[in-house]
């Protein structure tokens, strides 16, 4: 099947190159049949990349170890869910996922716009197929997922245990969906600029794709943060690592874009700005993939040389230069149809929101690339830590949250004092009350956090006020029950109220971030059974060690789990027991490792104990001290080494299982001290709740509105029925 997969990729490259040629030739000569042929090439690309992806996925699911990529990233003992998702844990698989998603979205948008934007679409098709050809080329010439092994191993390496988390396995498809969906408005912006058709039609045609891109990319970033919090054993969710930053940058500029296009749709302004934003977003999406895959920066993700750096750099350079050339050469056609009427208007606030987002992106960009910049300027590599990022990101985010409350309510063109009073009196009062209450409760010790709480209260005030007013107005018109009125109000104005919900969710999320980062208590402590430690209001006592062998579905040993049972009290009240553990997975590298020792030379992964609550999370991780076991491990290794070859495989397996059983029993009975990390973080749960609200709001924005024509007809019918009813009533 590997040959079929490789052939599908070669054909994919072929149809992509043909499609680029056909689209450009058709556009230049005005031949609609050739343009349609180019579009069909995009459909064929989608089909062929899906075929390649399905072949690779099937190889993972049936553990076909003749595929080098399967042998390197999966195994027969890997659980089925992780076999299915291990595809994108490899470089080759993740690039194939990129191509598959890109070609699917491309086919979808080109199908939906087949009767629209006839002049713009061929160029957009060429750009999308160009990106497809680039990734198909990488997969054929540099990172083939279909390389086969001449002598396949009897067992694969398995999916890295650290990646065995549902949130980490869904994180890459979400990020890549975001990246590839942003390619759609990018391509149409290029097409619109090429043919100098820069009205809002290309924006309307691709707005949903931009919104979906923003939503998926945001979910991807959040899933990465959740994985970091729950799996990595350090208790944080954001570290300003270059790879985190790589996904954040296009999200920030994409956020600016989906706000500023409203100004272009409504008032024909900011055309240069919008074109520049989406072109920058497209480039940043490629830059994000480049940062993760090229190894250009020293980071936890980006060590090691890669063959992909050069091609990515050439593509990003071409996209950047092409984008700048297009915007500069089309600046005369990109003139605004109107000017800003007043500094206090919705347009101005949206522009300010855009400037803050771009500034935030610049901060992240500068900090991420600083090692390279410093080396170029001073000849010495240097790096910036999280405090530097926080210094700029925190106040800018605070301003952003505040603006998300002001922007949707302030009047278009020019706000008056009466408008401001009507819109902001209640939210401002809510914010002042929140400030007073929080200061009285002692939150004044962290001023920026207090600022975020107040800004959050202000945003919540604006959203609930608007919902209330809208519902009251609707009920006055229709007489509907309150719950029905709210649902229908949102259903009839999805963009508006979906947007409000997104703003509310972001405010909740950042309140969670501010509280958990400013008021966290952390203790690193070494305890023996019977000893206890304090963290925040909690008392944690190490009662006893836990140890067990964890079997795979085939009853083979998957990993050894050592942990601790901890009794927890809060303010003297017993809360029960918690059980953080650490899993020790055997190394697959058998050279030089003993039969027992290899279990402690492979990956070891924390399984934290988490008591999550709306007020605070108690987060516990353990690092068992296996030093006391080392003499036993060495002795066991020596015995098995001496007996090598003299035992039947079945007897050796039984002896190994019994020895490991003895080892874990010894750990439990010896009860050695262990290292603990104890954290209490207030309101972390609200980060995830806020993210869900953002997700719900985004879905509401995305959900297609009822057909406008049908709505007009229904409204017409309602009027007629009302009139008839009126007549009937008048007669009676």
């Amino acid at each position: 099947m590997a040959e079929v997969g490789r052939a599908a990729l070669i054909l994919a490259l072929g149809v992509a190159v043909y499609g680029i040629g056909a689209s450009l030739y058709g556009a230049r000569t005005g031949r609609s049949d050739i343009v349609a042929s180019g579009r069909r090439a995009a459909y064929a690309l989608a089909l062929l990349s899906v075929v390649a992806f399905v072949i690779l996925e099937a190889a993972f699911l049936r553990s076909d170890l003749t595929f080098a990529v399967v042998a390197g990233h999966s195994s027969t003992t890997t659980p089925t869910f992780y076999q299915a998702t291990a595809v994108w844990s490899s470089q080759e698989g993740s690039l194939l996922l990129w191509l598959t998603l890109l070609s699917l979205w491309s086919a979808l948008v080109l199908f939906l716009t087949r009767r629209q934007l006839r002049d713009v679409a061929p160029y957009a098709t060429a750009v999308l197929l160009g990106l497809g050809a680039f990734f198909a080329g990488l997969l054929i010439f540099l990172e083939s997922p279909f390389d086969v092994l001449a002598s396949p191993p009897t067992e694969g390496a398995g999916l890295n245990p650290l990646l065995r988390s549902p949130s980490m396995m869904t994180h890459p498809p979400m990020l890549y969906s975001g990246y590839t969906l942003f390619a759609i408005p990018f391509a149409f912006a290029v097409g619109a600029l090429v043919v100098r058709r820069v009205d809002a039609e290309w924006i309307r045609a691709t707005r949903r794709f931009a919104l979906a891109a923003w939503l998926f990319l945001g979910i991807g970033v959040l899933l990465g943060a959740r994985w970091s919090y729950a799996e990595l054993g350090w208790g944080g969710y954001w570290a300003w690592d270059p790879v985190e930053n790589a996904s954040l940058m296009p999200w920030l500029i994409g956020t600016a874009f989906i706000h500023s296009i409203m100004i272009q749709e409504k008032r024909g302004m900011l055309k240069v700005w919008n074109a520049s934003l989406i072109l920058a977003t497209g480039v940043l999406c490629l830059l994000g993939t480049f940062l993760v895959r090229s190894g250009i920066l020293d980071s936890i993700h980006a060590f090691g040389a890669s063959t992909l750096g050069g091609p990515f750099l050439v593509l990003i350079g071409a996209m950047t230069l092409g984008s700048v050339a297009l915007v500069v050469s089309r600046r005369d056609t990109l003139r605004s149809e109107h000017r800003l009427d007043a500094l206090l208007s919705r347009e101005s606030i949206f522009l300010l929101n855009n400037l803050v987002l771009v500034a935030l992106c610049f901060v992240v960009f500068w900090g991420t690339f600083f090692p390279l910049i410093a080396e170029a300027v001073t000849g010495q590599r240097a790096a910036l830590g999280p405090p530097w990022f926080d210094r700029y990101a925190v106040p800018l985010t605070l301003l952003l949250v505040l603006l998300s409350g002001v922007g949707p309510l302030i009047a278009w063109r020019r706000a008056t004092a009466a408008n401001a009073r009507r819109s902001f009196a209640i939210p401002a009062a809510v914010a002042v009350l929140a400030a007073v209450a929080l200061a009285a409760a002692g939150a004044g010790s962290a001023l920026l956090a207090l600022g975020m709480f107040v800004a959050g209260a202000f945003v919540a005030g604006t959203v609930f006020q608007e919902l209330w007013r809208g519902t009251v107005a609707r009920r006055a018109m229709t007489g509907e029950a309150p719950h029905l009125a709210v649902v229908r109000l949102i259903g009839r104005n999805r963009r508006r109220y979906g947007g409000y919900l997104v703003h509310l969710g972001m405010a909740v999320l950042f309140v969670g971030v501010a509280a958990s980062s400013s008021f966290q208590d952390a203790t690193d402590v070494r305890l023996s059974p019977g000893q206890q430690a304090e963290v925040g209001d909690y008392t944690v006592r190490y009662t006893e060690p836990t140890a067990r062998l964890v079997a795979t579905r085939e009853a083979g040993l998957e990993f050894i789990e050592l942990g601790a049972r901890l009794d927890v009290w809060r303010d003297g009240e017993a809360l029960g027991a918690m059980n953080p553990t650490r899993g020790y997975y055997p190394s697959q590298d058998l050279a030089g490792l003993g039969a027992i020792g290899r279990f402690f030379e492979g990956e070891s992964v924390s399984e934290i104990a988490l008591d999550a609550g709306t007020q605070r999370d108690l987060w516990l991780a353990v690092q068992p001290d296996i030093g006391a076991l080392e003499p036993v491990i060495q002795e066991g290794d020596a015995v098995f080494a001496q007996a090598a070859g003299g035992l039947s495989p079945q007897f050796e397996a039984v002896a190994l299982a019994q020895t490991l059983r003895g080892l874990v029993d010894r750990y439990a009975s010896q009860a050695p001290p262990a290292q603990f990390r104890l954290l209490t973080s207030p309101m972390v749960t609200w980060i995830w709740v806020g993210a869900l609200v953002v997700f719900a709001g985004g879905l509401i924005c995305l959900w297609p509105a009822p057909d406008a024509a049908r709505r007009r007809a229904t409204a017409g019918l309602a009027v007629r029925v009302a009139r008839d009813l009126g007549r009937v009533r008048a007669r009676t």
Binding site: G233, F303, A382, D589, E603, S606
Partner: protein, 133 residues
């Protein structure tokens, strides 16, 4: 005032503010950064200055102590190594032979890692070379 002149003044003021902020950002980035050094480049390290040390954890060098963790870091290519005493969070992927970054300061003959600054290579980048089957 002439509207176009007013617009130009506004634009000039906005650009000046942007340039000033960017200059502040650039200036603070150079003053707040720590130099990135490999073990062999640390022989000229000054006491009281933080460096970001990058390299590989030396085999058989990791020792858990009452206070935390002692280990040696060597050049990625080469044998030059420095001892590091570290307290704080140890990431799950930390292992002998694996690449790490840790912020350190010279203290006596060795280096002391700053609390919670130890990071290791991300699992998504582990290659099959490290896990041959």
């Amino acid at each position: 005032m002439d509207p176009s002149r007013k617009r130009k003044i506004r634009l000039g003021a906005a650009l000046s503010v942007a340039v000033l902020l960017a200059a502040a950002l650039v200036y603070t980035s150079f003053s707040a950064s720590s130099e990135t050094r490999t073990p062999s480049e640390l022989d000229t390290a000054r006491a009281g200055v933080s460096y970001q040390l990058t390299g590989k954890v030396v085999e058989d060098s990791v020792e858990r102590t009452e206070q935390g963790l002692d280990f040696e870091v060597r050049d990625r290519e080469g044998a030059a190594a420095v001892p590091v005493s570290y307290q704080g969070v140890v990431p799950d992927p930390f292992r002998e032979g694996r690449e790490v970054i840790v912020t350190v300061q010279r203290q006596g003959g060795g280096f002391v890692g700053e609390r919670d600054t130890l990071i290791t290579k991300c699992p998504s980048k582990f290659t099959t070379d490290e896990q041959p089957s």
